[in-house]
Symmetry: D2
Subunit: 107 residues, 4 copies
């Protein structure tokens, strides 16, 4: 039961040199994330995972291995916000801002 959800990890990964349209590659990534069982959010700029360090990093590695199969050059950007003992931050951080502002924001 003691699931560790102390890590929020946002990443975007894409091939370089495969044309301007990347949605076929991104769909392969999102499919891996969606099947992983970890909680996540897809945004217009990346994917945000919530879990333990090892869980989140394992998914990023799976996504890299997937693109490595047919992409000669790959670019990855990744950002982690770790907070010991935290959980539910995919929504909690946004709600905290809404409470301070006293009104909903666009999400």
């Amino acid at each position: 039961m003691a699931t560790d959800r102390s890590v929020l990890l946002e990443f975007s990964i894409a091939p370089t040199g495969k044309g301007e349209s990347l949605s076929s590659y991104i769909s392969r990534i999102v499919d891996i994330v969606d099947r992983s069982g970890l909680d996540y959010r897809l945004t217009s700029m990346g994917t945000i995972l919530e879990g333990s360090w090892d869980e989140c990093m394992a998914i990023v590695t799976r996504c890299f291995r997937e693109l490595e199969r047919d992409c000669g050059r790959i670019s990855l950007n990744l950002k982690v916000d770790y907070r010991a003992g935290a959980s539910g931050r995919l929504e909690g951080k946004i709600e905290s801002v809404e409470q301070r502002l006293g009104h909903p924001v666009k999400r």
Copy 2:
């Protein structure tokens, strides 16, 4: 009418050394974005703007100036995805992935 919305810009900005809880600072940033009139989305890892290069960068500068007033050290991360002639990508990029996968994703 020919509004330029070719830029998606995601950014996160926060003071260093002001304690572990940052939501009071983030709220000041989101307030600036929310009043700006630009379309945006708040995520658990940052804020995504859609507009022209100059519009998006002007907002980032306003946010930096806001924190500069009382923060001795500031960290900013920023990512731009520019696509000539594009618009509506805050939702469009996610919908494009959903269409390829044939089912909705978590957003």
Copy 3:
């Protein structure tokens, strides 16, 4: 004379969909930076500028406008470390680590 060098700004900018080799585009960027008069360092992963917020951001905008001329899609990553009143940090931050470790590091 009181030059403001409180901002360290690292950025990388490149077209998407122009092939795997990007050095011709990167050279156009570095040329702009090199002629700007701002102090900078080129690394294998980006360019680091030292100056005021406005100076650094003006160069990033010039680089974006340069690529916008012939690139339909552009990706930019940017990171700022602002410290009020600081200067000489392109070398100073590295030297500070070396002093703590008691030996030189690879740079």
Copy 4:
């Protein structure tokens, strides 16, 4: 002997809420990198590793575990440039730009 050096990985990692001066934490990170045996460069904005995906990611994980011991909140930024079959890019990418420009740049 067939060392895989296809990954350039730049990262910066630091605690949030431990004051404005971070060099004591950064020194612990650089010490791990320096003893790892992987080739690297320290810049004013982060550390760049060259190696295989697994080697580079293992070092990042070691650095995270090191800070996790006494830091309640940690921020990590990471960027990967993978190129199949490549090596020597810590210097090679800079030299390639210098050749195109026809003169040395600041590094």
